[in-house]
């Protein structure tokens, strides 16, 4: 195991390969804590994002998941430069945008847009939706073929709103419709990257599916890349191509979606996935749940060594003393433990029992409906899908 002195994080190029739309290297965002009335001196820092690296190709979706307080939203905002990164490098479309000034940044903002979590507070209540969706054109001085109004109405129609509602105000719309307005505003200038910060968390399930489908349609239509910040692992599994699991400002696991959900390696990912309730009472009863004890440690004073060791079930129950010492003293690097599967853990292990299941199919016995209608009991055979839930216990 390498010593963490030089913190050899994988370069973003390693993580995604060349030609990436966005590369983020060792991004940190620390919020200073100051004391003192007149002469303020810094007494500490909230290490919200602490050395995060990843990259993103055009047209791809990267999911950022983790508990609240893990820094996923801060990371998203630092990438869009809504927050100034403390250190690190953000290269977007071949240009290092980390240190660009506001005026230098402005023309690039048409390529980087954002969709916010709360559709109620992210729309100005005093503006009509025509003004809101038209604002990007005015601000960027974008040329439109048919005039801004026609363009906005086409956008509204594209996201599933009535273009005649151009003159209405946000309060006249439901939550799902408002989120569509937010989406229309984000795609107005045909950006290359949209940072979606929990875009569907505030919506009801039936509406959530509508917005997720809309985001997917727009992605293929306009070749958009998404950074999809969410805490809902099932939604992320649906929409993301690759997923980054974050904990206390650091990357725990980073790999493509299918690998993450079929063969998760990090104990934190195991705990997260086992905690998601599935809508199937019998499966729920059978499922093994890894309960994390305690709360997220303070990012002001994160634990030594591996930040997760204070809550890690493996650390507590399985590891021996020498192994534990390594966890408490040595910071685990984000290393490739398998092809394209980056894990920050000293003792990673594939756990197929935790993996998101492929269909087992619902047996006919489970639906007495079939018994009631014996004529054409649609016996649904389990699809011959290889669960791929690796028994290859790739440990280091």
């Amino acid at each position: 195991m390498t010593q963490p002195t030089d913190l050899a994080q994988p370069t973003a190029a390693e993580v995604a390969g060349p030609g990436a739309l966005l590369t983020v290297e060792n991004l940190t965002k620390h919020f200073p804590i100051k004391h003192g009335l007149l002469i303020q001196r810094q007494v500490g820092a909230v290490r919200a994002v602490d050395g995060v690296s990843f990259s993103l190709n055009a047209g791809e979706t990267l999911g950022l998941v983790g508990e609240s307080g893990c820094g996923k939203t801060t990371a998203g905002r630092a990438i869009t430069r809504l927050l100034e990164p403390t250190s690190g490098r953000i290269v977007f479309d071949g240009v290092d945008i980390t240190k660009l000034s506001r005026s230098q940044m402005r023309p690039r903002r048409r390529d980087i847009q954002m969709i916010f979590q709360d559709p109620y507070s992210s729309l100005n209540p005093r503006h009509t939706i025509g003004t809101i969706v038209g604002a990007p054109f005015h601000i960027q001085g974008a040329k439109t073929e048919r005039g801004i109004k026609a363009e906005v109405q086409a956008l509204l129609e594209r996201v599933g709103l009535n273009p005649e509602h151009y003159n209405r105000y946000p309060h006249e719309f439901s939550g799902g419709q408002r989120q569509r307005i937010g989406v229309a505003r984000a795609v107005a200038l045909r950006p290359k990257l949209i940072v979606c910060d929990e875009p569907v968390s505030a919506l009801d399930v039936s509406i959530q599916a509508q917005v997720v489908n809309l985001l997917e349609d727009l992605q293929s239509e306009f070749d958009l890349a998404y950074i999809f910040v969410a805490h809902d692992l099932s939604v992320v599994r649906h929409i993301a191509d690759r997923v980054t699991v974050m904990y206390l400002g650091k990357v725990m696991e980073l790999t493509d979606r299918d690998t993450l959900y079929s063969a998760p390696m990090h104990p934190y990912t195991h705990a997260l996935m086992s905690a998601v309730p599935v809508p199937d009472p019998r499966k729920e009863n059978r499922r093994q749940r890894i309960l994390l004890t305690g709360d997220l440690p303070s990012p002001i004073n994160p634990p030594s060594g591996c930040v997760f060791h204070t809550r890690c079930p493996k650390f507590r129950e399985i590891l021996g003393d020498t192994e534990r010492e390594q966890c408490t003293t040595v910071v685990p690097l984000v290393e490739a433990k398998a092809d394209g599967h980056f894990v920050a853990c000293h003792f990673p292990e594939v756990r197929a029992d935790i993996a998101a299941a492929e269909d087992e199919g619902i047996s006919v016995a489970e639906t007495s409906a079939a018994a009631m209608a014996p004529t054409t009991a649609d016996q649904r055979s389990a699809p011959p899908l290889d669960t791929g839930s690796a028994d290859s216990g790739a440990t280091t």
């Binding site: 508990e67 599916a209 409906a369």
Partner: protein, 363 residues
């Protein structure tokens, strides 16, 4: 449970179709509850004729989208609409007492001691000026003639029970010093300090992370057993229902559209809205689908509830019912199998056929 299921399978379901749900002397029995609010725009029918029962030691889930009336129902049980402009009608029988007509003074005695509520947002439900512990002790002091020291002892014990480390020193902390999960635990401790017989939890885990949610749900399941309390869990997450509840009420547009034991709801659902809910959520326990299947349209306005079946504007199956009845005639909530009631015009056998042939393969 298993006996009941045998009965379900053995009895032909068609006989049930004409039968109305019967009522028994359950611990909590809500009968034809209506809560209407008069506003400038018209009467908001937030809850429009809902009936259900909960026995002690059981957990009932109420599921529905925002605006379906689930929270208003629970507030009516606690008598929180008294003194507002709400018009409450129907009957709520709680342990042999009727609550809709009960006076505010009577409700005060019950609230906190015999029935308690856990709110969705623990930060806004805890008073920021008072110590967490004293807020818990207050509930105990109001309903019991004990010394402050005794109330503190009970509260500390309760904080310990809900899994707060160092409860004795944490007693003197303020709400902002607690994390989200700990605040929710403190809320639960506050609700349970008088060992209520009925606990209503309104979206208790919605503001929490999945890891903390799992802890809280385990805690609630344990408490239902330990205190033999009846629990009503209000949620929009079917996963949470599958994990915790024994019976489920599905609400839509202020009405109950389907209710039954949890297995019936998940393995033999018969109402198009329940199908839609099950189909629209991405699931970790299934193969990833290329596309989600949303329920088209938006939830109904509670001022102008659709004529006929409340769900008809979003229902895919209205053509299956002859004579446009879905739009003209309001369907009754009828028993389809033991304990399983559905509000739909499509005849039972046909519904079950639709579920097996068209819905099940897409879930």
């Amino acid at each position: 449970m298993s006996d009941q299921k045998e009965a379900t399978l053995g009895t032909p379901a068609v006989d049930f179709e004409t039968e109305r749900p019967t009522e028994s002397g359950a611990f909590l029995s809500v009968r034809d509850l209506r809560v209407h609010f008069k506003t400038d725009d018209g009467v908001v029918k937030a809850v429009d004729g809902i009936s259900f029962e909960v026995a002690r030691g059981r957990i009932l889930g109420i599921v529905g989208e925002s605006g379906s009336g689930k929270s208003v129902t629970s507030q009516a049980i606690l008598g929180l609409h008294k003194g507002s402009n709400a018009q409450v009608s129907g009957e709520i029988w709680f342990d042999g007492r009727e609550l809709v007509a009960a006076s505010e003074a009577d409700m005060r005695k019950l609230r906190g001691s015999e029935m308690a509520m856990i709110f969705q947002d623990p930060l806004s439900s805890l008073h920021p000026f008072y110590k967490v512990g004293s807020q818990i002790a207050e509930a105990y002091l109001v309903h019991n003639h004990v010394s402050r020291r005794e109330a503190r002892r009970v509260s500390v014990e309760m904080l310990d029970r809900v899994g707060i480390p160092n409860p004795d020193s944490r007693y003197d902390d303020f709400p902002h010093q607690f994390s989200g999960g700990m605040r929710q635990r403190a809320m639960i401790a506050m609700a349970l300090v008088c060992s209520p017989k009925l606990l209503i939890a309104d979206e208790p885990t919605t503001a929490l992370d999945v890891t903390v949610q799992a802890q809280i749900l385990e805690l609630m399941k344990g408490l239902a057993k330990e205190f033999n309390s009846a629990i009503i869990l209000i949620t929009h997450d079917l996963g949470v229902v599958a994990e915790t509840c024994e019976d489920v009420v599905v609400m839509y547009g202020g009405q109950c559209v389907e209710k039954g034991p949890v297995d019936d709801l998940f393995y033999r659902p018969e109402m198009a809205y329940t199908w839609g809910l099950l189909g629209s959520m991405p699931r970790l326990d299934r193969t990833r689908q290329a596309r989600l299947t949303p329920i088209p349209g938006t939830p109904p306005s509670l001022i102008q509830v659709p004529r006929g079946c409340v769900f008809n504007p979003r229902c895919r199956f209205t053509e299956r019912v002859p004579g446009n009845r879905c739009v003209t005639e309001h369907p009754d909530l009828l028993v389809t199998a033991a304990g399983h009631e559905v509000r739909c015009h499509i005849p039972g056998p046909e519904r079950r056929q639709i579920f097996t042939d068209e819905i099940l393969p897409t879930l």
